[in-house]
Each structure stands twice: as C-alpha cells, then as structure tokens.
C-alpha cells in the first residue's frame, strides 16, 4: 500500500509522485495543460484575425502603455521564479519556506491583477470598451481569459497555503502544490506570448 509506506514521517524525495494518485494527478494535469494550450492557441488566432478591426476606437499604438505592461510582466515572471523556489523548498521537505514562497507568489499575483484591472479601467476611459470593435472584444477576451486564470490561480494557491498550515506537507498535499506550480508556470508562459503578440506587436503595428 504505497500511500501508507511513509508512516515514519519521512517524506520521499519527490512526494508528489510517491503515490499512484499523485502520479495520476501530475500526468492528468499535464494533459489538461495540453488542452489549455489549444484553448489559448485558438484565442490567439482569433485575436490575430481580428486585431486590425479597430473601427473608431483608439489604435493599439496609442492605447498600450508599454512601461505599465513591462512592470506587470516583471511581476508575473518573478512570481514564476518564487513558485520554483516553493517547489524546491517542498523537495527539501521545508514546509515553512514552502509556505513563505507561496505567499510571495500569491502577493505578486495580486499585484499583477491590480495592474491589469487598472489598465482595463484606463482603456475603457479611452473608449476601448468590450463592445467597441472586434479588436476590443477579442483583446478583452484573450487578456481577460488570462487574467481569470491568474485570479483562479491566486485563490487556488491561497487555499493550498491554508491546507499546508493545517495538514502539513504530506503525500496528499504535495501533488496539489506541485500541479498548482505547473499551472502557475503555464499562466506565465501564456503571458509572455500575450506580451509579445498583443503588446509588442501592437506597438510595432
């Protein structure tokens, strides 16, 4: 019975893969991310097909403010790094460090969301509302989908932090933390594409 084999309190080196349930979870999550790639791929294609249809709204060159987006990018990339530190702490079986790094990750996530909300409100004032044009609809859908992923991730990781407090680091909680880390990296990678495809290409025209 694999899930009972570590009764001595010693966690195995990779606790997320210690049980069949854990291995299933990690594999299933990788596959889920494969589906997410298709999801975002389709959203990107839609955006690329419609990005020139700005009608009377402001063109992306005027609209986008790169410094703001660059800060958001920096924040999100840093949070990816802190989530790596968290997983490393987990592999060292260091619960305190794990929790601390996850807290930092969550805080950075909140920071990113704050900036994004500010950015959207600013755009709406410029006349770049959801219903303004095909460009604006596809922009908000793509970037908004990503934002919703960040928001979900932040809530999810917060819940995991609470569970780590209560239940400790076990072969049950470890796979959860591990897949949340995978998720967080994925969300970051998507952002890198959004940054290049939406913002940089938008600026270049």
């Amino acid at each position: 019975m694999s899930e009972l084999s570590h009764v001595d309190g010693q966690l195995p080196h990779e606790p997320e893969k210690a049980t069949l349930e854990g291995r299933n979870k990690v594999l299933g999550f990788w596959l889920f991310l494969g589906g997410e790639v298709v999801l975002f791929g389709t959203l990107f294609s839609v955006y690329l097909a419609l990005r020139d249809q700005i009608l009377d709204g402001p063109p992306p060159q005027e609209l986008f403010s790169l410094p703001l987006v660059a800060i958001a990018t920096l924040i999100l990339l840093t949070s990816s790094l802190t989530s790596v530190f968290a997983i490393q702490a987990m592999h060292r079986n260091n619960r305190t460090a794990l929790i601390n790094w996850l807290v930092v990750t969550v805080l950075l996530g909140f920071g990113f969301l704050g900036l994004e909300i500010y950015e959207f409100i600013h755009y709406a004032h410029e006349g770049h509302t959801f219903s303004a044009s095909a460009f604006s609809t596809s922009f908000y859908t793509l970037v908004g989908f990503h934002g919703a992923h960040v928001a979900f991730g932040v809530l999810w990781i917060s819940l995991l932090i609470a569970q780590l407090f209560k239940k400790g680091l076990t072969v049950v909680t470890a796979p959860k933390v591990y897949v949340a880390g995978l998720y967080w990296h994925f969300v970051d990678v998507v952002w890198v594409f959004i940054f290049s495809v939406v913002y940089l290409m938008g600026k270049v025209g």
Binding site: N24, L50, T141
Partner: protein, 616 residues
Amino acid sequence: MAHAHAVKRYSGLMDWLTTVDHKKIGILYLISGGFFFLIGGLEAILIRIQLWKPMNNFVSPDTYNELLTMHGTTMIFLAAMPVIFALMNAIVPLQIGARDVAFPFLNSLGFWTFFFGGVLLNISWFTSTGAPAAGWTSYVPLASPMFSEGHGVDYYVIGLQISGLGTLVGGINFLVTIINMRAPGMSFMRMPMFTWTAFITSALILFAFPALTVGLVALMFDRLFDGNFFDPSSGGNVVLWEHIFWIFGHPEVYILILPAFGIISEIVSTFSRKRLFGYSSMVFATVLIGFLGFMVWAHHMFTTGLGPVANSLFSIATMLIAVPTGIKIFNWLFTLWGGSITFTSANLFAIGFIPTFVMGGVTGVMLAAAPADFQYHDSYFVVAHFHYVIVGGLVLGLFAGLHYWWPKMFGRMLNEGLAKLTFWTFYIGFHLTFFVQHFLGLIGMPRRVYTYLDGQGFNGMNLVSTVGAILMGIGTIIFLINIAVTAAKPKNAPADPWVDGRTLEWSIPSPAPEYNFAQTPLVRGYDALWKEKMDGNKGMTPAEPLGPIHMPSPSILPFFMSLGLFIMGFGLMYHQWILTGTGALMTFGCMFLRSVYDDHGFHIDPDELKDKGVKA
C-alpha cells in the same frame, strides 16, 4: 488498518447520484445517452414525416429548423458521445486490468456536467422562443443575436459548453487511466483495439474540445454581452466561426468513429475465433487517422471561398485519410478470412458495419475532390454521406458493442432472436432511408429544406426515405423491448458468455464486481485471456497476493458542482446575476469542499472477497 469503520454506502437513488464506480457511471451514460438517442430519433422521424410528400404542412418551417438543429446537436453531443463513453467506462478499465479509472471523482463529474448540459439544451423546447434553429453548426450571422432573436441559440451555446466540459474531463480521465493504470505486462502494444481507439479518441477530445470552448465563448459574448467577434458591421468575421467550429468539428467526427472501429475489431476477432489481422498496422492506422483528423477541417468549407491553394491542400489531405481507413477495412476482412465465423447478433452488426462504412467512406473520398464538392456541398448527398458514416458506422458499431458487452455490464444475455430482428429492421431501414438520399442530392435537392416543390422529381425517393426511417424506428423499439424482456430474466450470464472471449474483461464475473479484479492479473501477451486459454490455463495468473482493496468513497459533490453550472447557465442567459452568483457559488463551493476534505476511501478486506468465492 486506519479504516476500521465502514464508509457510508448509499443505496437506491442516492447510490446512483453519488457513485464513482466506473461501471455504474457507464450505465448512467448509457441510460441518459439512450434517452437522448430516443429524443433525437423522434426528431428525425418528425423530420421525415414532414418530408414524405412535397409541400407538406406537418410542421411549420420554424419548427422544422428547430427539429433539424436539435436532431443534429442531440445525436452528436448527447447521444453518440455518451453511449461511446458508456462503453469506454464499462469496458476500458476491465480490458487493461485496472480496478478503477484514474479519477473516479472526475469521472462522475464528467457524467453530471454532460447530463445537465444536455438537459439545459433540451429545456429550450419548452421556452416561448423555442429551440435553437440555426443548424448544429450554428453558422453566424444566422446564429447571431440579430438573426436569431430569442434564447434558442443561447441554450445551444451554454448547453454545449457545459456538456463539453464533461466530455473534456472524461477524455483526460481515460488518457491517464490508460497510461498509468495498466496491469503488469499490459504494454501499449498488447492493449486491446477498443482500448487503443478509446485512447486516441480521448487524445482527440483533449485537443479538439478546447477549440469548441473558445468558439462557444465567443458566440456567447456576441449574443449575451454585445461582443463583436462575428458581427461584420463591427469588424467581426463570420468565416472565423466556420474555422473554429470545424477545427473542433472535424476531429469530432473521428472522436465518434474511432471507438466504433475498436468495437468492430474486438467483435470480428472474437466471433471468427482469430487474432486481429495486422494488429500493429491497426494501431498505426488509428493514430494516423487521429493525426490527419486535425489537418482536414477546411474540407467542410470548400464553398466558403478560401481559394484554390487551400482547397487543393485540404482536398489532398482529406483523400489521404482513405489510406489508413482502407487498411482497417482489409484487416477486418482478413481477420474473418480463414476464421470460424459465428453469426451472433453482435457479429451481425459488426459484419453489417463493414460494407456500410465502406460506402460512407468512398462517398467521403468523392466529397474530398473540391470541384465536385461544389456540387455535393450542402445537398442531400452530404446528408447521405455522413449518415452512412455516423449511423451506418458509429451506430451499428454501438449496437454491436452493446449486444456484445451487455452481459458484462448487466449480467444478463440479451435475447438473440429479438437482437437479430433489431438488426435486420434497423439495417434495412437504414439503407432504405439514406441510400436514395445520395441521388436526391445529385439531382439538385439542397439539405436542410423544410419542404420541396412538386414536380422536381424529388417525391418518390423522399417517400422511400421516410419509410426507411420508420423501419429504423421500429428496429429501435424492438431493441427497447429486448432490454425490457432481458431485465426480467435471472442474472446468470457466465464470465465468458461468448465462450471465445479473448480479452481481460471476460476473465472476471459478469457483471464485474465493484473492485473488478480481486487480484490484478499478469498479462503475458496480446489477447491476454485467449493466450491463457490456449496454454491450457483456467484463468489469468494473478500478479499480486490477495489483499485489501482500496476503493474511492462515493460523493454527491459532482452532482451539485454540475447543478451549479446548470443554474449559472440560466443566470447568464437571462441576465439574472443573483442566480448566476448562486450557481457559481455552488460549483466553486463544491470544489472548495473537495479540495479541503481529503477522500481516504475505504478498503474491501480479503475475507469479504473470499466470501464471494474468489480463489486465493
């Protein structure tokens, strides 16, 4: 043991609402898929009654368009896919020697989201604005808020979104199950063909359904939140919808047909007492069909105006699919060649499948020639083609599979006489209905027409087609009678009721006990059970000593999670934000509970197994 106290086990209705047992979920899929199949079938009969003579007034044009939309949508998403999932759930874990699927909880969630999505879609019939009427492809601008006022298409968008989620969850579950949960010795190249096709189908689901998700989200935004994706006056693009829909929609066709290929492979092999001919080329062909399935979506759009280069490329890519499909056909024929063939009802359906599917396949190649498709496209020729593939292919395959695995699912043998009667009525009815439709299309009858004028030469063949449809209906009713008759009989099917069973599911009692295998079997080759039989062994060699078996606990959460989505869907459609919030709270609340409370499951002790007469 930490689990000395028994976990609460439900009975009756609560048992079905909370079950995480893949075999019971399979039965749930079968019942609800079967129910939707009857609804879709009824819609088809109404369509055919309307068309039995020219200028008929049986239903109004609006109702007709609702019927044709709901018939297509129901049959594809709510009937065909769930029955496929029913067989996958009931059989795949048994075929690979697993005690369960990888995610029993998600399995139940997948079922309930599918179920509530389907119910939501069908509730549209009872609203004042009626069911969606823009076709199962829901092409914009017809499906846009300007040309489809009322809530019909909203039901389509949200219903499919919810049931699509369930399908996606199911697909991931089967991928992980097949990759991680195979019994010792069950290598990939020893997996039964049905498991292989379930595997590839699940992969196609994983990579195709997210595209549909995006398409439906975009259409939902356009319809409910004033978005501009498909509104040309605001810069939207209607051809974009066609692309998104068919990037999903074409792989969907292979999602449907591949499991049928798997079922046919199993049955043809069993009832000719021969190993499947060219097993590895069958596997290769399955993978190749799955791969090519993603490369050909624009052959649904030859008349959209994509230009000659795109049309040529998609023509050729589409024709290529004929090669792996041909490999399969000949492999089946040569499995039969030299065999010792018995004509059980299951085998009748399987053998009936082969020529029928070939006919659907060759018209597919004909359609692939783009310039000729300019003539076939959106005519009855296309209707004939895809019904040959989906009914003559998939539905015959599903009937074959149901007759074959019925004893394993329910412990009772279906009545062979009634089953053969089902076959002949359905089969003759099918060809009568759809064969003439090829010619209707060729002589100029467009599809999706609620009526046709007299004097165009369409009358006779339409009448024949309607008569055929009624025969198919009678065949289905005979099948239902057979189920009822069988249910009254004692549960006495042996473990290997067909005597010549070759794969692992026939090594365990019928129906399978809740833990499937008291001891995980050791697989020593392809056709694992057949190999043991030939070596003179009584059954499988166990790969482990008899010990306590860990089982997941039942849970009501998947039911409420899906109910939450269902409520949320209504809230979104009618802009009732409190309702939306309640639904969201329900769904996310259940997710929260699931995450916070660990499910340790329970154990079935070896003593309990011994009581049931399992040898140690």
